[in-house]
């Protein structure tokens, strides 16, 4: 492991155009979309930035990933995505031991604490099979939300919010289409009318003719 405690083999800083020590912002606070689609190919895009300890310590920014980099939970724990629960636990325990505030070196307290929190969160999500499944699904979709935001609400809710938004757009457009159809059907009279359309026409005629 590196001195930062996070194994980050290789780097693809070029893709994200930022050096590890910069404090660039992410372009889109809501959607951090991964440019790739398939899961296997994502590994190459995923941030494997080396942690520049000196730089981060001096800038006061803790061991956060460079801008645009999405450190997934798997990266954080330093494990590949296909690990079993046992391996996740082992990785977590190692890191927790390292970053626990009580055992961290005094000058690095804040950054270690932050890292600890993240490691903790990563473990909590990945050790629950359901949450892990949701997390994996999100990653595949390219939706990677920040740790602390995720923690506030359960994983289930968050993923639903994203989904629900999609659904709402979809059914709203379906309803508009239905409205158009309904209006055209209540007016028109083609030859091939369904039973109900004939009844509707009859009713409309009765209404217009007065009774």
């Amino acid at each position: 492991m590196t001195s930062c405690g996070l194994t980050m083999p290789g780097t693809d800083a070029a893709l994200f155009g930022a050096s590890p020590s910069s404090t660039a912002r992410l372009p889109d606070p809501v959607l951090r979309v991964r440019p790739s689609l398939g899961r296997p190919s994502m590994a190459s895009f995923r941030t494997r930035a080396t942690m520049n300890e000196t730089a981060s310590a001096s800038s006061g920014r803790t061991c956060t990933a460079p801008a645009g980099a999405e450190m997934s939970f798997y990266d954080l724990l330093g494990i590949p995505e296909s690990v079993s629960l046992r391996d996740i636990k082992l990785a977590y325990k190692q890191l927790a031991r390292k970053y626990h505030p009580d055992v961290s070196p005094p000058d690095r307290v804040e950054e270690y604490t932050q890292r600890f929190i993240r490691v903790q969160e990563a473990y909590e999500t990945l050790s629950d099979p359901r949450q892990r499944a949701l997390y994996d699904r999100d990653m595949a979709r390219g939706l990677h939300l920040a740790f602390s935001a995720r923690r506030r609400s359960s994983y289930h809710d968050d993923e639903e919010i994203g989904e629900r938004g999609d659904w709402r757009n979809q059914w709203q457009s379906q309803v508009s289409e239905l409205k158009r159809r309904s209006e055209s059907r209540s007016v028109g009279g083609s030859d091939n009318m369904s039973w109900a359309a004939r009844m509707r026409r009859q009713k409309a005629e009765m209404a217009t003719n007065g009774l």
């Binding site: 912002r25 992410l26 606070p29 809501v30 959607l31 979309v33 440019p35 689609l37 920014r61 803790t62 956060t64 325990k93 927790a96 031991r97 626990h100 009580d102 055992v103 804040e110 950054e111 604490t113 932050q114 929190i117 969160e121 699904r137 595949a140 979709r141 390219g142 939706l143 939300l145 920040a146 602390s148 935001a149 923690r151 506030r152 968050d158 639903e160 919010i161 989904e163 629900r164 999609d166 659904w167 709402r168 059914w171 457009s173 379906q174 309803v175 239905l178 409205k179 159809r181 309904s182 209006e183 059907r185 209540s186 369904s194 039973w195 109900a196 359309a197 009844m199 509707r200 009765m206």
Partner: protein, 727 residues
């Protein structure tokens, strides 16, 4: 905001650590040490995190999500301020969306509170709390018709339609029915209990409305489980063709069977349709496509390309319907969805829009809900707490009384497993009732030999017939009343061709709280009239195990046996639960006596024995016999009973046309009624017995031991002793 965030995340994180890892690396863990250190950390780290604005932009997005209040499941009567103002749906018209959401939550609390005291169906009602609120807010029952398929999810509907004060009597004698009932309220548009009838009924109501020139709305609410039945497709096929205005709400919670789980835990729902429905709302590839499309447009900046990307998006959106949507569309229904079934605002907006359209035709709204939503013990239970007895609201634990004997269902499952261990050809089929039929136990032992076909009794029977042609030994385990749905298949596909399908009819006779919709009154009648069918009924659990073995042995013709809801009587079980085949067409005499003979069929024989005990106390010794077989009848036994006694009473827990009728025909044809014999049948009366406890129902039917004894007394002319029977 940051510090509160941190605190809320930090503290639980510490405490959720497993103790072991601490002990191993920290020499002296003390909680006080942790706390003091935490305080400092909190402040410092908070400062560090302030600067991460990206995170908070995200947090803001999610703070839009309303912080829901914690629901009160403490076991005390929940405070329900909004619900208290509502007696009928017209009181809901002026509620705001916020109030409607609170109302749905109050309904949840009320239902958990009530059902915890009465028992009944829990989680299905919790899943439709928002839908019920939205429907009653937008539509006006009883003019508008809402038909709830199966009907066990109508507790919120009943509460909102003037029956809240009687909810504590639900499913009890003289209380509210557990299912919608037209007699009970004008807001119950259609009586249901068996599944998949709602669209058919709704279409009938819609067409009736059209013919009469009315303009009310008709809404049918059907679940994805009920959607697996053929009748639902028959109805949709017709609805699409007729094109009448009809709203079909597909309540999709990925629950098909009861339970949608094995004995070891949750399972995916059976059937290809379930998968198709899932594809409709989790089309991951398409979403990824859309996301990447968005990303591409961002990178290639410029208004032109953005326009292009928007077009791509809308095209893709058109594709997101997926294969299932086109199935509904092909049937002529307009598909809308998926829609979040727990978002009252969405539902109200959507329903209002459709309500305002003059000619939408048949519309199918695909709602995604979670069974048991809002009550954590139900959400996490494998069976979702579908049907419960009294339970503790805080923990969700049911208060099940320990009984000395198991249920007949369990004895059946155990003996079938024992048979299947000896005979590889035995297979079991059920229709989405793995829990109720006990076949989940069979499935655990023989996963490849247990078939859950979904709610499809007709298919189950013919499927079993097909298996039988290949030499297998299918045990088709379907509740007596649900087998009614597959009757033609029994007659035409099984009996006519004399295929050796075995029918295990659970819940025969009166069933208690579920009421007449689930009552198995007719199975003896409709099975015993079939020429090739062997029809038998055990009087206790040992007989049941022997009849399972008998059925397994009958390989040249179809056979069936019926057993009730309830527990065994405590007879000695055969070794390893493996029964011995009985001689077909032979009954047995349980008690020797004189003058009076009581011939029972099925578990009602236990009541006959009790009646004989009562009569013995008065000095009479009736003969008690267990017929065992309705077809073929034990002619010798009947002849002996008829010739050697003055009085013969046949007793069964079935409707007219069953065992007693067959016996009467036998007696008549053999001249046994030409002498001095007094023969009387005792059976279920010619009316539907209301829901209640099984004991009360037997009393209402006049088949308790008291009634049997009283009948004997009145026939032998000892009417003066009747008062001793305490009827």
């Amino acid at each position: 905001m940051a510090s509160s965030l941190l605190r809320s995340t930090f503290l639980p994180l510490i405490h959720s650590q497993d103790g072991q890892s601490y002990a191993s690396f920290h020499p002296k863990p003390t909680s006080t040490t942790f706390l003091s250190k935490k305080k400092n950390r909190g402040a410092v780290v908070a400062a560090a995190m302030e600067s991460e604005e990206e995170n908070f932009a995200m947090v803001e997005k999610f703070s839009e999500m309303k912080e829901k209040r914690m629901l009160d499941f403490s076991g005390n009567k929940p405070a329900t301020p909004i619900l208290d103002t509502i007696n009928f749906p017209n009181h809901m018209k002026n509620l705001s969306l916020q109030e409607l959401e609170s109302l749905a939550d109050e309904l949840r609390e009320e239902i958990v509170y009530t059902v915890s005291k009465t028992g009944g169906h829990l989680s299905s009602s919790l899943g439709v709390a928002e839908l019920t609120v939205a429907l009653h807010h937008v539509f006006n029952t009883p003019e508008d018709k809402i038909i709830w398929d199966v009907g066990h999810q109508t507790y919120p509907h009943k509460i909102l339609t003037g029956r809240r004060s009687r909810m504590q009597s639900i499913r009890q004698t003289f209380g509210l029915a557990g299912f919608p009932k037209r007699d009970e309220s004008e807001h119950d548009a259609f009586g249901v209990g068996h599944s998949s009838t709602s669209i058919s009924a709704g279409l009938g109501m819609a067409v009736g409305r059209d013919l009469l020139g009315k303009d009310n709305h008709v809404i049918a609410v059907i679940g994805d489980g009920a959607m697996t039945a053929g009748q639902a497709y028959e109805a949709m096929n017709n609805a699409g063709y007729l094109d009448s205005n009809l709203i079909i709400i597909l309540n999709d919670n990925k629950q098909v069977s009861l339970p949608t789980a094995t004995v070891d835990g949750p399972a995916p729902p059976v059937g290809a349709l379930s998968k198709a429905l899932t594809r409709l709302h989790s089309s991951r590839k398409v979403r990824m496509l859309r996301e990447s499309a968005k990303e591409i447009t961002k990178q290639i900046a410029g208004p032109k390309t953005y326009g292009l990307a928007a077009k791509v998006d809308s095209y893709v959106r058109g594709m997101t319907g997926g294969p299932g949507a086109s199935l509904f569309e092909e049937l002529g229904l307009y598909y809308i969805g998926p829609v979040d079934g727990h978002d009252v605002a969405d539902l109200v907006v959507l329903l209002k829009k459709i309500k305002s359209m003059p000619a939408p035709g048949p519309v199918l709204i695909h709602l995604i809900t979670e069974k048991g939503k809002g009550y954590a013990p139900a959400e996490s239970a494998a069976d979702k707490m579908h049907g419960v007895v009294k339970f503790d609201t805080v923990s969700g634990k049911q208060i099940k009384t320990k009984t000395p004997t198991k249920s007949y269902t369990q004895y059946f499952a155990e003996s079938l497993i024992a048979e299947a261990e000896h005979d590889k050809k035995i297979v079991a089929i059920h229709a989405a009732m793995g829990g109720g039929t006990g076949l989940n136990l069979f499935q655990k032992q023989f996963p490849e030999r247990c078939f859950d076909v979904g709610i499809a009794e007709q298919h189950a029977v013919t499927f079993a017939a097909g298996l039988a042609t290949e030499g297998l030994k299918p045990f088709c385990t379907i509740y007596s009343s649900f087998l009614q749905r597959g009757y033609d298949q029994v007659v035409h596909d099984v009996d006519l061709q004399k295929l050796p399908v075995r029918f295990a009819m659970d819940r025969a006779g009166l069933v208690g709280a579920d009421g007449p919709t689930h009552c198995g009154a007719f199975d003896t009648t409709f099975m015993a009239c079939l020429p090739n069918m062997v029809v038998m009924a055990p009087s206790d659990e040992t007989e049941l195990m022997n009849m399972v073995a008998t059925a397994a042995a009958i390989d040249d013709r179809p056979s069936c046996f019926r057993y009730p809801r309830g527990n065994g009587v405590g007879t000695v079980l055969p070794l390893n639960n493996k029964g011995t085949p009985l001689e077909v067409g032979k009954g047995r005499v349980l008690r020797e006596g004189s003058r009076v003979a009581i011939l029972g069929y099925g578990t009602i024989v236990q009541n006959c024995i009790e009646a004989a005990d009562k009569l013995q106390a008065l000095g009479f010794q009736p003969t008690v016999a267990d017929a065992r077989f309705c077809k073929p009848l034990d002619g010798e036994l009947i002849r002996m009973l008829a010739q050697e006694h003055e009085v013969l009473i046949t007793v069964e827990e079935g409707s007219i046309g069953g065992f007693s009728s067959h016996v009467s025909h036998y007696l008549g044809l053999n001249g046994l009624l030409d002498g001095k014999l007094k023969w009387r049948p005792m059976l279920l009366p010619d009316r539907y017995i209301d829901h209640g406890s099984q004991k009360d129902q037997i009393e209402a039917a006049g088949l308790s031991s008291k009634h049997i004894a009283a009948t004997v007394l009145s026939l032998i002319g000892h009417k003066e002793s009747l008062h001793l029977m305490d009827i």
